[in-house]
Amino acid sequence: MIKLSATGGRFKKLSGLSAKIAPSHRWLVRALIRAVSVVFCVVVAVFFIIRIVPGDPAKMILGQYATPQAIESMHHRLGLDLPIWEQFIRFVQNLVTHGDTGTSIVLGTSTRTLIAERAPVTLLLIAMASLLAIIVSIVLATVAATHKNGVLDHLIRILPTVTLGMPIFWVGLLLIIFLSVRLRWFPVGGVGQGLGGMLYSLMLPAITVAFAHIPTLVRSLRTQMLEVLESDFVVTLKAAGIPNRVILVKHVLRNSALPALMLLGVNISYLIGGTLVVEQVFGIEGIGSLLFSAISNRDFPIIQGIALYCAISVEIISFLVEIASRFLDPRTKGEL
């Protein structure tokens, strides 16, 4: 882009954004515009969370027997006494300057601090679950695709039909019943001390979250690998005497990895949502439990903060995944 503006001085007269941007960069600009507008809509949606409450949110917070004065001061505190456009400007201002959605009504602490305190456990859990889901899916999909129409292949094909209706929290409970209560392999809940203890106590929750995603991941990855396995270049490599094992690892897996990465980017939103619920099952003090305590305390700013941070992280992750997948594919790398 820099090169272009240096050599193409004479194009300056053709002002306007699209004229200055090399065609190959246009997708990036389009993706950025999309991401920014989605983030803006997310902010608007979060702003309206408190306002879709039927009746008066202040009454909902303070209960039925609140005095009119108390309700009025709550209105003031939530900024509900101002005209709506001013409320929105304040909301955005606060967001930009403090990075939060106000202070917690019950605790009086900034929502950003509260979320930052709880985030590490949740992020660790999400990371563990994603890693587990990827590893298990790749192994299962490889076995299924290389042994097409075998027993495991058939099992994997019917798996999503069975697991689609499994509530994630129920899966967690079953795992607790069998692996923790019966076999005593894992703690029933809570988070252990130190990194080792933390990883150990988060194993079962991570398995639960991963379990919900493995069936669909495996199914798509299997289809993807079968497509690659039957493609011409695999036949060429086989004909040229490259051992099957090497073709599988060096060529087939790499070619299936890109769509798998995209798929994970699409699924990250579901993964986060599942994590929030699973935290509740295992009594983990993360973002999920913060959300539920905020819900029982009717602590709107915290709820807004969590919604905002989750949605923005999802948006950033899918944006990064798009860039990464273009970067990893030599066919589109040149366009970066």
Binding site: V38, S269, I272
Partner: protein, 288 residues
């Protein structure tokens, strides 16, 4: 006159027969349909099947293991678990079906609009769906259900707000691909107005796919209803609901694990039935 009537009747008979034949030739649809019919039957005839009332407490017989008297045992208040599971099917299934009506209609309609007209309608609908998809599904369900008040009303509002997205996305892609086909262009050159093309020609073509999506989406909806019940912001007790039952049983997993396991199995059973039906319908549609 008579002969014409007979003719149409014959045709209808034949139509009915070929439909039955199709169902019989599609094992997933047949099995899924039978499983679902059984479920509906049990839910409808719950009072006939079970001698107990779902909320009848018997504090002298709490947390009993399965026996001939109580097929699946009793819960912490001495209520018969089997009775509660089949009565909960009534609650959960009826909400599942009712909550799906409005999202299905709006989603299909908006999807067709976006796919057919493209341009700014498409951009707008895409922006809204992208925004709503950025929020983790359970997060948005939990927040909206909580903010709009716990209970059935909250569930309905939640799915009116977010349930249409799935349909809109699928139908949009499908409509856009139909849009490029020649018969639509032909209809346009004949001067048929867009609305008429959408309702008369596009709708019948996208509907089968929408119904396939409906089947899997109902499973997702049921799981969400149950999850809300489990989290205490769904159906309020004492109305029997699988989610609250699982949550109630959680305190007793060490001693009476079936209290949580059984209602969950009911959800999984429903899920299998509906996704089999969906797979079968998709098969039939693809064969066409």
């Amino acid at each position: 006159m008579k002969s014409i009537q007979l003719d149409t009747q014959l045709q209808e008979n034949r139509k009915g027969k070929s439909l039955l034949k199709k169902v019989l030739n599609t094992p997933p649809l047949l099995w899924g349909g039978m499983m679902f019919a059984l479920l509906i039957g049990v839910a409808v005839f719950a009072p006939v099947i079970s001698p107990y009332q779902p909320s009848h407490q018997n504090l002298f017989a709490i947390l009993q293991p399965p026996s001939t008297k109580h097929w699946l045992g009793t819960d912490q208040l001495g209520r018969d678990l089997f009775t509660r599971v089949i009565y909960a099917a009534r609650t959960d299934l009826s909400i599942m079906v009712l909550a799906e009506v409005i999202p299905f209609c709006t989603g299909v309609f908006l999807g067709m609009l976006a796919g057919y007209y493209g341009k700014w309608i498409d951009t707008l609908i895409t922006l809204i769906t992208d925004t709503l998809i950025a929020f983790p599904f359970y997060l948005i369900v939990i927040i909206v259900a909580f903010a709009s008040g716990a209970g059935q009303k909250g569930i309905y509002i939640t799915f009116i707000l977010v349930g249409w997205i799935v349909y809109a996305r699928v139908i949009k892609g499908l409509s856009a691909s139909f849009r490029k086909q020649e018969w639509i262009a032909a209809a346009q050159t004949l001067g048929i107005p867009g609305v008429k093309i959408i309702l008369r020609h596009l709708l019948p073509n996208v509907l089968p796919q929408a119904v396939v999506v409906l089947m899997t989406d109902m499973v997702g909806l049921l799981v969400a209803i149950v999850t809300l019940g489990y989290l205490g912001i769904g159906i309020a007790p004492p109305t029997p609901d699988w989610g609250t039952m699982i949550s109630d049983g959680q305190s007793f997993i060490a001693t009476a694990w079936w209290l949580s396991a059984v209602p969950g199995c009911a959800v999984v059973y429903t899920g299998i039935a509906l996704s089999l039906v969906g797979d079968g319908l998709a098969d039939i549609w693809r064969r066409k």
